[in-house]
């Protein structure tokens, strides 16, 4: 085995470790960000493909899992732009079927409320709470300051509590 092949094999192993360890957490993050299960599934898969293609450089990123999640969100946004054009051209009806990988403990009302948060607040919320990045990693991944991360998170939680309480869920 030459040195390049050996490097490729090592890189592959590390990527696979990363993928298996992070896939659920990243998928939850993307799902909470984009709102729709199947859109999240497609975007996450594509983001993992891209992560693998540039895994060598991605390993030095402050948060590879944050990179995959934000890439998936961008893929989702791009694909929706294309989907709108596609719908006009091909007249395909987009109607996602019911999700199948969600267990009983999932709170649909909470998910719906999170989906209504402004995108930046939602991103910070899911990166900090679901992806479990720290403030610095979140700031680096989203390209904002650590102070802004704290402010967005606080606004998101405050808004969420108000709206969620309005829906009759008393968390206290």
């Amino acid at each position: 085995m030459d040195i390049n092949t050996q490097k490729l094999e090592e890189s592959k192993i590390l990527f696979e470790d990363f993928y298996r360890a992070q896939r659920d957490r990243i998928f939850r993050t993307v799902f909470a960000t984009v709102g729709n299960f199947h859109d999240a599934e497609d975007a996450t898969a594509e983001a993992f493909v891209r992560a693998h293609a540039q895994w060598d450089s991605l390993q030095t990123h402050p948060s590879p899992s944050g990179w995959v999640a934000i890439t998936a969100k961008n893929i989702f946004i791009d694909s929706h732009r294309k989907a709108r054009r596609f719908q006009k051209k091909m007249m395909v009806l987009i109607e996602p079927e019911a999700a199948t990988n969600i267990d009983e403990g999932f709170d649909e009302a909470l998910h719906a409320t999170i989906s209504q948060l402004p995108m930046r607040q939602r991103e910070v919320l899911v990166f900090r709470i679901i992806l479990e990045l720290n403030s610095q990693e979140t700031a680096d991944t989203l390209g904002i300051s650590v102070g802004a991360v704290g402010a967005h998170l606080n606004r998101a939680l405050t808004t969420l509590r108000k709206k969620y309480t309005v829906q009759g869920k008393d968390l206290s």
Partner: protein, 236 residues
């Protein structure tokens, strides 16, 4: 420091809410691929033209199949297949549309399939003696498999689907559709990256296949006893 302390106390004030969010989303897991023991096939990037690949039912799974009707087979007929598709003229395309539409209006068939009116096919992949036509139109989508023998066209199966969504450009979806005698054919379909003029891939037996491509949408069928080599997909 004061700002940091405020952030911490704000977060603590929401501990119950944070727990509720984490608990709720822990019920969500990344879908496992129903066809493969690997839910994500890692491929080595061979060149910029090589596509990432994941074995999936992305196209078919995102549609709801309303009905599949498998029609009668021509006795003793073997399926011929070719690695390169034939060029389909607009007249031939119209003939495929007509025969597929007529199949849904057949009074002799006992299968329950409401008659539908088909618009011209989005794409026809005609190779060997079989053509796989894909129709996409409002509210319904159809995949029609037609056998060609000389001037005679006979529909082998027709699958009508509702809803669904496209797969990502560059991500290849492998699906299959039933045909006669409980057999099936496999096909790949999807959207090519912008500027693509040729889509090729290899089967595991080494055969290089050229897909039919039109307006960024591609499709290629192949016998179901063959599998696609996931490392070989190339958008040129």
């Amino acid at each position: 420091m004061t700002q940091h302390n405020n952030q911490n106390s704000n977060r603590e004030a929401h501990d119950d809410l944070i727990s509720a969010i984490q608990q709720s989303y822990s019920a969500v897991t990344y879908p496992q691929n129903p066809r493969s023991s690997k839910d994500f096939v890692v491929v080595k990037p061979i060149s910029k033209n090589r596509a990432g690949f994941r074995v999936s039912f992305a196209l078919a799974a995102s549609f709801v199949v309303i009905a599949t009707v498998v029609f009668s087979a021509l006795p003793g007929s073997e399926t011929a297949w070719a690695a390169t598709p034939k060029t389909v003229s607009s007249e031939e395309s119209e003939r495929f549309r007509e025969v597929c539409e007529a199949a849904t209006h057949s009074e002799n068939d006992e299968e329950a399939l409401a008659p539908i009116n088909l618009t011209p096919p989005t794409l026809v992949d005609y190779r060997g003696d079989m053509a796989l036509s894909i129709f996409t139109q409002e509210g319904q989508n159809a995949i029609c498999v037609t056998r060609v023998e000389g001037d005679k066209l006979s529909v082998e199966s027709l699958t009508v689907m509702s809803g669904g969504q496209e797969s990502m450009p560059g991500v290849v979806a492998e699906s299959s559709v039933e045909r006669v005698n409980g057999d099936s054919i496999s096909y790949v379909s999807g959207f090519a990256p912008k500027g693509t003029t040729r889509v090729t891939f290899s089967l595991t037996d080494g055969t290089e296949v050229t897909a039919s491509l039109k307006d960024g949408f591609y499709v290629a069928w192949y016998p179901s006893d063959k599998r696609i080599d996931p490392q070989s997909v190339s958008f040129q």
